[in-house]
């Protein structure tokens, strides 16, 4: 579903991502880890077509994201680490806008929006401008916007920042269920316990280079540490 071939991104002389080769399959919940400035957000922006690779290729559903971006993006969702929302819209108005962008049928839209707002406990705030929302509520709206068109791939950058424990549990369950239903989740996070709990495979990068990739067991073998992901991560980076 997601394939990178020698993916490289340079900012001037600085190499942010260096010849990265990944292959993430259908239904995988893939954890993407690395220390600060390792190149995680740059990789994610390359996967979503927001940045252009200096070298290499990103293929999603077999399409080159740079060339066939409309085909890819209509089946993909991106939840950024610092999301932008139109502050002068209400949650319902914003979600309607997103539905129209994804050409979702008008009759289903309202039902879907209401369902999601209810699920994320935003119903009582739906007619308040987004500028009045807390960080967590912002994040909830972004997550709903990412789910509303039922994407086949969800690319997430730090999904749990600012969420309360109840919503964190909800989001984890959504990711797990989506994965079971054949959706692919590509998740970058610093919350190692989260990655350890829900990710099938984990990739660790540092300074733009791939350090390790595999299941938790495979990472344990590679690092020689039979412990938690945190210890493995610290050893490898």
């Amino acid at each position: 579903m997601i394939e990178t071939l020698n993916l490289t991104k340079k900012f001037g002389t600085k190499i942010a991502v260096n010849k990265l080769n990944l292959d993430v399959g259908k239904g995988e919940l893939f954890g993407f880890l690395g220390p600060n400035a390792a190149g995680k957000t740059t990789t994610i922006k390359l996967l979503t077509g927001l940045l252009k690779p200096t070298e290499g290729l990103v293929k999603i559903f077999g399409y080159d994201i740079q060339k066939d971006y409309i085909k890819v993006k209509s089946r993909l969702s991106y939840i950024p680490d610092v999301p932008y929302l139109y502050e002068k819209l209400t949650a319902r108005e914003f979600l309607r806008f997103v539905s129209e962008i994804y050409l979702i049928d008008g009759k289903d839209t309202e039902k879907k929006i209401e369902g999601f707002l209810e699920f994320f406990s935003l119903r009582e705030y739906e007619n308040i401008l987004i500028e009045e929302y807390s960080h967590g509520m912002h994040q909830k709206v972004v997550i709903i916007a990412a789910l509303i068109h039922n994407p086949d791939i969800i690319i997430v950058d730090e999904p749990m920042v600012g969420l309360d424990p109840k919503t964190t549990k909800l989001v984890k369950d959504i990711f797990k269920n989506s994965s079971k239903n054949g959706k692919t989740i590509f998740m970058s996070t610093h919350t190692l316990s989260l990655a350890e709990e829900i990710c099938g495979r984990i990739c660790i990068i540092d300074n733009g280079n791939l350090i390790a990739i595999g299941t938790l067991e495979e990472l344990r073998k590679k690092s020689g540490i039979d412990g938690r992901l945190e210890e493995i991560f610290l050893k490898l980076t």
Partner: protein
Amino acid sequence: MKINAFLKLWLNVVRNSIAMLKKQSLLKMYFILLCSLLFLVVEFLICYVAFSFMRGIPEVGSIIVERLMYLFYFALFLMLIFSNAIITYSTVYISKDTELLFSYPLKSGTIFRYKFIESNMLSSWAFMAILVPFMVSFGMANHADSALYIFMFLYFIPFLIIAGTIGSGLTMLLVKLLPQKKLRAVIFLISLFVALVIYKSIRRVRFEESGQTIEIFMLNQMLPNIHMSYSLFLPSYWMAEGILKASLKEFKDAFYYFLLLLSTALFFTEVLINLAEKFYLISWQDVHSQAREKIFCLSRGIIERIRPLFKIFGMDSCGLIIKDMKLFWREPMQWTQFVIFFGILGVYFVNIRHFSYNMLQPFWKHICAFLNLSAILLTLGSLSTRFIFPQISLEGNKFWIIGLSPLGLKKVLYEKFLVSFTVSFFITESLLMISNKMLGISGLLEACFIWVILMMNLALIGLSMGLGAAFPDFKSENPAKIVSGFGGTLALIANIGFILIAVAVTIFPFQLFLKGYISTYMDLKKAAMISMGIVSLMSLGLCIFPLLYGEKKLAAMEF
């Protein structure tokens, strides 16, 4: 359907913004409406008197009006292109919602269309506000048919679109073709080139060679004869020519110019959208890649070298000053506006002798000197609204750093005021000195002008800074958007209104003297001192009270 989605998005944003406005104080709403109306009425009256006066000049009256129309629309066209180019960069390239939109399955042309409309509207609204009273006064002074106003309205839209497409297209090409690091140098070179082309197109012909009547020849000597403004290929020429034809009830010709403007606007829009389909995403990606590149390429520059100079203000203030200078310098799209507008004034002042203005009779020389003073002050007024007003708002989310520091917000406000005042005072006073020197003005008038510039800098910078602190918009990171709010509009109106009053008060004793109502030099000196006293009192009031108000509001603000 996607265009519908954008239309609905825009309508929702406007509706919600109006609903938010309604929740604010009614008094505030009515006050700003009243001020805006007053401003438009005053502008209309001044233009009406000026047009009526010019029409009444025998032999050359209609030629002066005609010449002014060509020059006015030529200057407006250039300013619109420039304004669109600057605002396109912030709205189309670095605005945060573009990242959100590019993550959706939208064609880059669709995103560009929406952002272009936003950018074009942000760039043009202030010009439109100034243009309407100007044109209505032209129509009324010429006793024109009501059809003229319909034509003017018809002309505005394609004219604004043409300027917008050229400005946005230029930005897109510059961003696509040039690396960000060289952008500053390139913008500077382009500005220099434009100034040079305008300068070169100013023609000076000897009377014997001109083949003109003496009246026309003298008129050419007095009004800058920018040949380029008469080019048949310029939309500003079509606009001026169309309006002049409509005022003469030659509606067939007027309609022809409308069609010319409309077809050009449609053609340019089509070309721009095609360019956007091809280049927008790539150039957007480049901007977002190069912005990071710069972070890795920073080196110790001139600002760091002059740091010791500011240490006399204390380490904390020095840190703030250096930070503000660096942020300003690293936004070339912002500071080039200063360079271009004051640069054009500089080029014109240096060439005053070229136009033989220094040879004019004292009455006209004084008029010329006062017009130059007004030009400097109006440029300062609009630039202070554009740059000084948003300074506190632009601190926005960064307030957690300075807001929690022992420095205090009061010190931040006054540091910004002092730095802005020092820079603007140095530039405007230098320009005034050049104008005075070239016109050969000295003595009492020169002393008055120097004092007025000092006072007006205090007033305009204080007013913009104070209102900027009182009505901040911490959510927006786009200065153009910050300025277009309630506080920015109030600051612009107050600035321009005060400039008109201050210039009128300054000119009053000198006009009385030239018309013989004041007979001795000593009496003129006394009258001038009284008028300077009035200007000083008003200026200090407009500096101190808004700053104190802003300080109070800032202290009471919850972040």
